[in-house]
């Protein structure tokens, strides 16, 4: 069970939240740019390591939050509001090497 620190409600169980994927790329601003839209919608970061992602505190304050979580250890380094610039912890190079 993940324990997610909501900036409004504090540390809460994963089951109170719904996930909405990567928060790494900004939404493209040009509505005519199909290639940028495809990149934003489909070609998301899939790092083995730290990952910025959106969660919705559906059964709490009902606000969207941003979380920096590690995709191997599931450790959470930071959380904040969606427009906050959260610092990424030092990451080991993303080599895809063994180690489960």
């Amino acid at each position: 069970m993940l324990r997610i620190p909501c900036p409004c409600c504090g540390l809460r169980d994963e089951t109170e939240f719904t996930y909405n994927g990567s928060a790494e790329a900004p939404r493209p601003t040009d509505p005519e740019d199909g290639a940028a839209a495809a990149a934003y919608v489909y070609f998301r970061a899939n790092p083995r390591g730290w990952h910025a992602e959106y969660w919705h505190h559906a059964q709490g304050c009902r606000r969207w939050i941003k979380v920096i979580r590690h995709t191997v250890t599931h450790e959470i380094a930071a959380s904040g509001w969606p427009d906050e610039d959260l610092p990424m912890p030092e990451a080991a190079p993303n080599t895809g090497k063994a180690g489960r």
Binding site: L2, E14, T18, Y42
Partner: protein, 416 residues
Amino acid sequence: MRYSVFSLARAALNGHKSWPQAWRDHALRDRYRVIVVGGGGHGLATAYYLAKNHNITDVLVLERGYIGGGNVGRNTTIIRSNYMLPANEPFYEHSLKLWEGLAQDLNFNMMVSQRGVLNLYHSDSQRDAFARRGNAMRLCGVDAELLDVDGVRKYAPLLDFDNARFPVQGGLLQPRGGTVRHDAVAWGYARAADRLGVHIAQTCEVTGLVIEGGRVAGVETPHGRILADKVGLAVAGNTSLVAQMAGIELPIETHLLTAFVSEGLKPFIDGVVTFGAGHFYLSQSDKGGLVFGGDLDGYNSYSQRGGLAEIDHVLTAGIAMVPAMSRVRMLRHWAGRMDMTMDGSPIICTTPVENLFLNGGWCYGGFKATPASGWCFAHTIAAGEPHPLNRDFTIERFRTGRVIDEKGAGPRPWLQ
């Protein structure tokens, strides 16, 4: 040695000490015609069909762990071809047809058991959706039967038919669906490929791809560089990271899926039954254990370690479908990393790097696809262009809008 009743009898006479190794270890050559990265079901099947269908035997399969240690040995072993979209159905039906003759073809008993796959429905709209899918299957010449509640009662009497919230109204049955012993698939393909001259190297990780002038020339490993005319990637949950070695971005996210096995029981359920009011699927192994699973954990992860929240969710759904399960003890559970695409359908294609080919994005349905995936990927590698059955499984479809979204879940891989 051919496996047969005679070889079994002969080996029995000397206490089963005469069985040769199923596949051999070889000293690695400096260069191969084709290197397949990833020794899971798909990589091994690809190597086998390269040798068998295309006469390319100078092939090396590189596996960073051991054969059978990936998803090929972690799945819930269900095979079926109950898809609806024209890009998917002929491909999965080809796979099911290959399963039907695979034990003879590979000379390895992988216990293909066509015990049927039944998808329950619990509402009128679900029935209509299943009728539509069944009709689409039948238009492709595939078996599908819409059962009413009495038909389901005969097939799986233990279900909670009168559940107040989700009464069972009927189900869509594919009688030719079923289960296959998954480790035997890895071992059977490895042994058959070895017999045809393919080299298999375990505990040998690919750490880099050698690319010169836009064309792949080989791979880097801890044992040094190995050259190849062509390289095929079939690394399942690791697909994004290995493709990144060639600078290829993919519409894939890696997620967790957990499988469960209970203590052994007397015959409890015949076929594979899936719940329509939640994500849950159940079958019984030949040893008697109930084998089941449900949803993904729901967030990106490479950990191969499922969380308790999802375990609780799956067991709750299971008990809603089969209340008798509440008295059954769970023996073990484990998770695999799934290469989830943004439309739930796979990728088998050429890439922007010349002579580099990609097979991935199998989500949690890739086990049933193993034979056809190997068949089509071998063709794609040998011919340098896709087989008609995998023509639509491109990366480009995500840029052109021609996604193959069976479920209509949209670009939410954790919901596919």
